[in-house]
Amino acid sequence: MAEHIIELQDVTKYYDDNLVIDHVSFYVNKGEFITFLGPSGCGKTTTLRMIAGFDLPTSGKILLNGQDISLLPPNKRPVNTVFQRYALFPHLNVFENIAFGLKCKKVVNTYQNESGESYTRTEKLTKQQIREKVEKALTLVDLEGFEKRSISTLSGGQQQRVAIARAIVNEPEILLLDEPLGALDLKMRKEMQIELKEMHRRLGITFIYVTHDQEEALTMSDTIVVMADGVVQQIGTPLGIYNEPANTFVADFIGESNILNGTVVGDKKVKFCGKTFDCLDEFELNEPVDVVVRPEDIRMCRPEDGILVGEVISVVFKGIHYEITARVGKYELVINSTESRTVGETIGMNVAPDGIHLMKPKYTTNVYDGVITKHNTVEFADGEFECDVTQLYPGSHIDEEEYLVKADGEKIDLTDVEVKVEVGLHDITISDDAEAGGTTGRIISIIYKGDHYRLIVRTEESEEDFVFATEDLWNENDLVSVIIPKDKIKLTLKHTEEKR
């Protein structure tokens, strides 16, 4: 078993009242190149900052080589950081920037006195030692002879190299890199990716890398930690994560995917787009599943040979391959192929069993805690919705004073009764008009599912999520109001209420 250099144990972090890291646990092997990957705001940078010591976890532990370092200040940790915008000291030149850490450092030297006894002394590094180390670091990043240059005269790429040299010159056990290539242009970024990988190989230390660029993560990492909403979604090798995404979020975020709703129709058989396919994953019969098919796993063939038959509606040249979109019935599928097709052409399509990935849908229904109000509406997720309260008691009706009258004639005042509210994935619609629905929220996720989009709308106050399907295209982060028809709100009494 490889040695765990860093281990996070049930780490949670709040900024004021905002939960940014939600009970995260994982470990980092010594010497590996690990990448935290996720969209902005997923908590990857916060995780890195907690390892560096700039932020302290609200609860949980961070272990370095088995020692608890959760509350250790940054200057006491054997960890160095390459900052997002480099954070080079503008008043110091290249040499002084790189030497900064060395000048702070104290080493224990062993000497022998005249009688032969050895003794130790804690000393600063000599000027000569510092000079040698700085020169070595500059050579490593290909900036020999830049010692006297001032930071402001350097290009972005050169500043980047100085920032890396400044960190590795201290010989840290772990090098943290916070989106270090974000400010560089595409070509430069590609070059630096290869150089960083090479540097990792030569130095042999652990690299922890943060990025939102999935391609960068796939290219460079030994291990990828996919994060979203402050939660680790999946940990694995680039190949493992790409080929076997743990959920639709990972499938959508890493690479491109066709994500479809499917049903298990037999032993290793799944039905989607109206056809039955062989697959490798086993699920229970009739279970609804999310089906993920990578665009390159769809093989085009003659119409008569394909399980699926569709019409090409767009062809985009992407350099190495063509991105072809085909319409199959009401579904749209994206295909990557080195062969081109013409728009309007009818094609057949096949998917091999190992190209079909089934996963349990994360969302099957929406559940909330609600409270009945005076006017027989239900309050949940920062809003108030009209509902049919008679469903709580079979055979009941509402009298003219708005009291609920049970089948046996007993009158009940439902005000402040707590209920479980359930809303189906297909029973929610949204509108631009903030007044139209019962509550408002922002669209935080959009996933295309072949013939519809799956949206998640999150309310701003209590951060409740509404997951639903829609055929309309919306924009992420739009503020929308959530509309639920009265008869689609399913209420059940909470257990405690039943006893009353």
Binding site: A52, F54, V79, T81, Q84, A87, F89, F100, A167
Partner: protein
Amino acid sequence: MKIPRFSRKTLCVPYAVFLLFFVIIPMLIILFYAFTDKEMHPSFSNFIRFFSDPTKLSTIVYSLVIALITTVACLVIAYPVAYILARSTLKKKFVILMLFVLPMWINFVLRVNAIRELFNLLTSLNGMEWLAGANYFKTVFGMVYDFLPFMILPLYTTMLKIDNSLYEASADLGGNAFTTFTRITVPLSMPGIMSGVTMVFLPSMTNYVVSDMLGNAKVTIIGKFIYEYFGTDWHMGSMVALVLLIVVFVSTWLSGGFKSEENVRGTNL
């Protein structure tokens, strides 16, 4: 109708006229007076009289010392205030900043008067009688009180511009709080220190209102000197003014104030 059009040159004329009449000609007049005697004959007598008179020289030295102490006191008080305010995450920190700066907007003479009354009150207390004679102390106190905002503002604006990640980088590289302060905070706030120093040092050499009112007229600074001479002897007054000009020029030059770098002289409050 023809729209009158001004070239850049014509637009410069008013400023050139202003500079000519209010800067260049007055300077020449001062030069002229400084190097002539009462009969308007060219003469170095003022120059010789000034530098051979120990009281005049000691006034210059006193002024410099008072200005120096005032500046250092302002810096020592203002630096922590500016640092704490600039780095705090308080949402309403500008309110605190305003409280420090607010006295600037109240009439200067009124403020000095208030300080004098305060000192008079204190002097009447038991055990505080020593204050009556502490003219230099009271002068410096008044100046520090008056010029403190001019030190806080440039310091605050410079420190606000220091990226938080630089402090983090310093800590990350093993720097403790002291190292970070001496090697990051101080050098990066140098432009603010410089403009704060300039804005406090120069007025405290010449602003004799404070020394007159708080120093019982026992403290004579160079500004007072010039004022008095211009009542009796313009020639000597001009010479003193000229000497002050040179002192100011040299001290600004020494502090690097002529470098056209991002010297923060104002504030974007």
